[in-house]
C-alpha cells in the first residue's frame, strides 16, 4: 500500500485508530459545548452555574491542548515550561477582581 512520490517521500498509510481518536475528541468537545449551552437555559444564574461553566471550559481547554496541540506528547521540560508560567494568572485574577470590587464600592 505504501506508495512513493517523485521525491522519494514515503507515504505512510492511514492509522484508523489514530483518526478515530481525533474524531472522539471532537465529539467530546462538541458535547461539552452543547451541555454548556443547555445549562445556560435550564439552570438558575449564579455562582454555582458559573463554577460549572469554568470547570467545563477548563476540561475543553485540556482536550484541545493535550489532544489537538499534542502538548502531552512533548517532553516533560517543554510541557512544564508552558504550563507552570500560567501560575502568574492566579495572581492577576485575585488582584484585578479585588480592584474591581473596590471600584464598585467607591462608585455605588
Amino acid at each position: 500500500m505504501a506508495q512513493e512520490n517523485k521525491n522519494g517521500l514515503e507515504v505512510i498509510p492511514r492509522d484508523s485508530a489514530k483518526i478515530k481518536k481525533i474524531w472522539m475528541t471532537a465529539l467530546i468537545l462538541l458535547v461539552v459545548t452543547a451541555v454548556e449551552f443547555l445549562l445556560a437555559f435550564t439552570m438558575e444564574r449564579g455562582m454555582f452555574l458559573y463554577i460549572i461553566f469554568i470547570v467545563l471550559t477548563i476540561v475543553k481547554a485540556k482536550y484541545i491542548m493535550m489532544e489537538f496541540m499534542h502538548l502531552g506528547d512533548e517532553v516533560k521540560p517543554l510541557f512544564y515550561s508552558i504550563i507552570v508560567p500560567l501560575i502568574f494568572l492566579v495572581w492577576l485574577i485575585i488582584a484585578l477582581f479585588r480592584e474591581g470590587a473596590d471600584i464598585f464600592l467607591m462608585r455605588w
Partner: protein, 256 residues
C-alpha cells in the same frame, strides 16, 4: 527515505550545544513560547472584562424581564439573541453557539491535516487544509455579521441618559453600539466586546492567511520538496490556539 533532509551528526558534547533537551525543533519551540505570551495577553483581556464587570452593579431581576440599561451590566444571553435572516427574533446564543461549533470543527480538520502531514500524505494534507480554511473563513464571516448586528442594534433601541461626546448629559433613544454609548449596557460593555472579540478576530484573520499559505505550499509540493510537513504542524498549533481562546471567550463573554 528522504533525499533532501540533511541529517547533521553533532560531534559536540552536552555542554557544547550538542544536546536537544526539549526534543522539539526551533520553529515549534518558538511557536509554543509565542502562544504562551499570547495566552497572557488574552487572559489579561478576559480578567479585565471580569474586573470591570464586577465594578458595575449586576442586574437583579428575573432573566425573562430583562431590559437593557446603562445602570447595570447586561445578561449576555438577552443581548446576543439574533440570527441572520430572522428579523427581531429571540434566539439566545444560538448564533454564537454555531460559531463555536464551526471553529471546533475547523480545529478538528486541522489536526487531521497535521496527522496527514506526519504520514507525508500530500493529498490528505491538501484536502484537510482546504476544509480548515473553509471553516476559518466561515467563522470570520459569522463574526462580521455578529459585529454588524451589534453595531446597528435592535429596532427598539434603549432609552438612556448619558454624557455625549460634547460633554452634555442627554436623554435619548440609543440604537446599536459605539465606543461612547451602546443600547445594551454600560459603555465598557461594548468597548470590551469590540476589543476582545476584535482581537480574537484579528488572530483568526492572520490564521486564515497562514492556512492559505500552508494550503498553497502543500498543494504545489513545497513541503514534499522540503522532505517534511512541519510547517503544517506549526500553523496547526497557532490555529488550535485560536480555537482555545474562543472556548474561553465563549464562556466568559457569552455564557456567564
Amino acid at each position: 527515505m528522504s533525499s533532501t533532509a540533511i541529517e547533521i551528526q553533532s560531534k559536540r558534547g552536552v555542554w557544547g550545544g550538542g544536546n536537544e533537551p526539549l526534543k522539539a525543533s526551533y520553529g515549534k519551540l518558538m511557536m509554543w513560547f509565542f502562544l504562551l505570551s499570547d495566552i497572557f495577553t488574552f487572559t489579561a483581556f478576559l480578567i479585565t472584562y471580569g474586573a470591570i464587570r464586577v465594578s458595575y452593579p449586576a442586574y437583579g431581576g428575573e432573566v425573562a424581564d430583562f431590559v437593557s440599561s446603562n445602570e447595570y451590566w447586561p445578561i449576555p444571553e438577552m443581548i446576543f439573541d439574533a440570527i441572520p435572516f430572522v428579523h427581531g427574533g429571540h434566539f439566545p446564543l444560538v448564533f454564537v453557539g454555531l460559531m463555536t461549533f464551526i471553529l471546533i470543527l475547523s480545529s478538528v480538520t486541522m489536526v487531521l491535516a497535521v496527522e496527514a502531514g506526519h504520514r507525508n500524505d500530500k493529498k490528505d494534507v491538501v484536502k484537510w487544509m482546504l476544509w480548515t480554511l473553509l471553516g476559518g473563513i466561515t467563522f470570520l464571516s459569522c463574526q462580521a455579521w455578529e459585529w454588524s448586528h451589534f453595531i446597528h442594534g435592535t429596532d427598539e433601541g434603549s432609552m438612556l441618559t448619558y454624557v455625549n461626546s460634547m460633554g452634555n448629559v442627554v436623554s435619548e433613544t440609543v440604537y446599536g453600539a459605539n465606543l461612547l454609548v451602546n443600547e445594551y449596557g454600560p459603555a465598557p460593555f461594548a468597548q470590551l466586546f469590540f476589543f476582545i472579540t476584535g482581537f480574537h478576530g484579528f488572530h483568526v484573520t492572520i490564521g486564515v492567511f497562514l492556512l492559505f499559505l500552508a494550503f498553497y505550499q502543500a498543494a504545489v509540493g513545497v513541503y514534499e520538496e522540503r522532505g517534511h510537513y512541519e510547517m503544517i504542524e506549526k500553523i496547526g498549533l497557532y490555529w488550535h490556539f485560536v480555537d482555545l481562546v474562543w472556548v474561553f471567550v465563549f464562556t466568559f463573554f457569552y455564557l456567564i
